[in-house]
């Protein structure tokens, strides 16, 4: 699928044909790195790479790049998430070089939530590039060793380039063309939005396969366990672009409160089992929001443990 020799462990695992497992951690709202290290410690043996979110939901946090460096120094492979909301093309390219100087080899290019959702709704946004153009930028820097301005880069970044895809956002008819567009821009792996509507995901995947897209980028299926029925309802009703079918909410509400967390994990594991059978799914991105300690259990029960370590 990819001819380059980017020294990303995630890429090697995918190239070798293994189902990859990634997860993500949100950096703390303060400067103590202990929290991020603790989260990473919990999951590092069960995943191949850990995404570090970039001021997710526009709430100000310790920066993604610094948190990635902490992981790197622990010997854990980070994926630098980068949103185009807060930085112009100078800052984006500069941060990419900064990450590359620590040999951070995975990047996830995102638009970012609008700032109105966060703690600075009165702030400016930047959106100098969009996520599609950020993908192009990283590829230009890596493959041609050039800045956007055309000058040569000394020691170009070596990054495996990813992006998100939301099979559930509207309008549905362009969800696959949009994936095709990201691939044309140069994306090499995709982490999807949390999948609860498996039928709809399978339809999306089928349309992607019809165009051969599953052979042009590695698609990692995104899953998030529900902690409670309340969370399921919240995700269904309040999170833009999220598709939680009624029967999933019903299933969560149908068990007593103290059993709901277990049921959430069960649903997650069952989803992974079913998604493993979908042609074109090359791995899983497990987003256990502030519930990282459950990732090992999910990975083990889904038959994804041990992780390949001979690469």
């Amino acid at each position: 699928m990819s001819a380059n020799n980017v020294p990303s462990r995630l890429k090697k695992i995918l190239d070798a044909g293994h189902l990859a497992v990634t997860s993500e951690c949100g950096p703390p709202r303060g400067s103590d790195p202990k929290a991020i290290k603790k989260k990473a410690e919990m999951i590092k043996d069960h995943v191949d790479a850990i995404n570090i979110t970039d001021n997710q939901t526009s709430v100000t946090r310790l920066c993604s790049l610094a948190a990635c460096i902490h992981l790197k120094l622990m010997g854990v492979e980070p994926t630098l998430q980068m949103v185009v909301r807060d930085r112009n093309r100078i800052a984006l390219q500069s941060d990419i070089l900064g990450a590359a100087s620590f040999d951070i080899n995975n990047i996830l290019c995102l638009s970012g939530d609008h700032q109105q959702f966060g703690d600075c709704p009165q702030g400016q946004n930047v959106f100098d590039l969009d996520s599609m153009q950020l993908i192009q930028t990283v590829r230009l820097m890596r493959d041609e060793g050039k800045f956007l301005g055309g000058d040569a880069i000394n020691r170009p970044p070596q990054m495996f380039v990813g992006a998100a895809a939301n099979p559930f956002a509207d309008p549905f008819e362009i969800r696959v063309p949009r994936l095709a567009k990201k691939i044309a821009a140069g994306v090499e792996f995709i982490q999807t939005q949390c999948i609860y509507n498996l039928d709809k995901f399978e339809l999306w995947m089928k349309q992607a396969r019809d165009r051969g897209l599953h052979e042009k980028a590695y698609i990692l299926a995104g899953v998030t366990p529900f902690k409670s029925a309340g969370m399921a309802k919240y995700m269904k009703n309040r999170v833009p672009g999220m598709d939680v079918p009624d029967d999933v909410v019903k299933r969560m509400s149908g068990v007593p409160k103290e059993k709901q967390a277990d049921e959430g994990i069960n649903i997650c594991v069952e989803s992974i089992q079913r998604l493993k059978e979908v042609e074109g799914v090359k791995g899983f991105h497990i987003m256990a929001i502030e519930w990282e300690d459950k990732v090992p259990e999910i990975v083990e029960r889904s038959g994804l443990y041990p992780r390949p370590n001979d690469l």
């Binding site: 959106f127 599609m132 821009a185």
Partner: protein
């Protein structure tokens, strides 16, 4: 047109409360259409201020005038002979008019009477919405005639983002997602395939980012 909104009366009072002779100047163009700074609004504001000063027991003279435009020398010049009678001017033109007034009548305090909002359309009486941010390099030809810069909350040139839900933008259920509109119209035009063309990184130097802009047209200069 340029769309403006009324300023709260308290804010206006705060700006002008210490003057004795005030001129309120309306504008007959955009702000008349959007009912924020035309002759009618000048009259209403003048009455409200007179009432306020009367209640406060202050004697303040307030005159009213509405010019054809405040963004052209020719109309602003109409004030030349009388301007010195006034301690201050309250302009209900957009920010452009207010500034041109201030430039022209250098020694007279000029205050803004409206909040200038955007370039937009009248959707229906009493509802105006944004359509253009004057990026200086119009790309509507590539986006089915719908502007992603002014109408997408993230000004995405290759949208939509993952937050587009049921045709609405992630920031507001009442706001159309610009990219849904673009896709709907591409479909209508039989050009949905165009969607897959990646719009390249934009040169923002013709936009605000490039500093204050100027158009000089040698062909029409006198």
């Amino acid at each position: 047109m340029i769309v403006a909104d009324k300023k709260p009366i308290e804010e206006i009072i705060d700006m002008v409360k210490d003057f004795k002779k005030l001129l309120i100047v309306g504008c007959n163009e955009c702000v008349t259409v959007c009912e924020a700074g035309g002759k009618k609004e000048v009259g209403i504001l003048a009455s409200a201020l007179r009432m306020y000063f009367m209640n406060e027991g202050k004697k303040v003279d307030i005159d009213e005038i509405t010019l054809e435009r405040q963004c052209d020398h020719e109309y602003l010049e109409e004030l030349r002979n009388n301007i010195d009678q006034y301690d201050a001017v309250l302009s209900l033109a957009c920010g452009v008019g207010v500034q041109f007034m201030a430039e022209k009548y250098f020694g007279t305090p000029v205050f803004p009477g409206v909040n200038t909002c955007f370039m937009g359309v009248t959707e229906e009486r009493g509802v105006w919405s944004e359509r253009c941010q004057g990026c200086g390099q119009c790309m509507l030809g590539k986006t089915a005639g719908i502007c992603p810069i002014s109408r997408c909350a993230k000004r995405l040139l290759n949208g939509p983002c993952g937050g587009s839900t049921k045709g609405k933008c992630e920031i507001n259920k009442d706001l159309d997602c610009a990219w849904q509109l673009i896709i709907d119209r591409l479909k209508e035009l039989g050009r949905l395939d165009d969607y897959e063309e990646i719009i390249p990184i934009k040169d923002w130097s013709t936009e605000r980012a490039g500093g204050p802009r100027k158009v000089v047209r040698e062909d029409v200069r006198l």
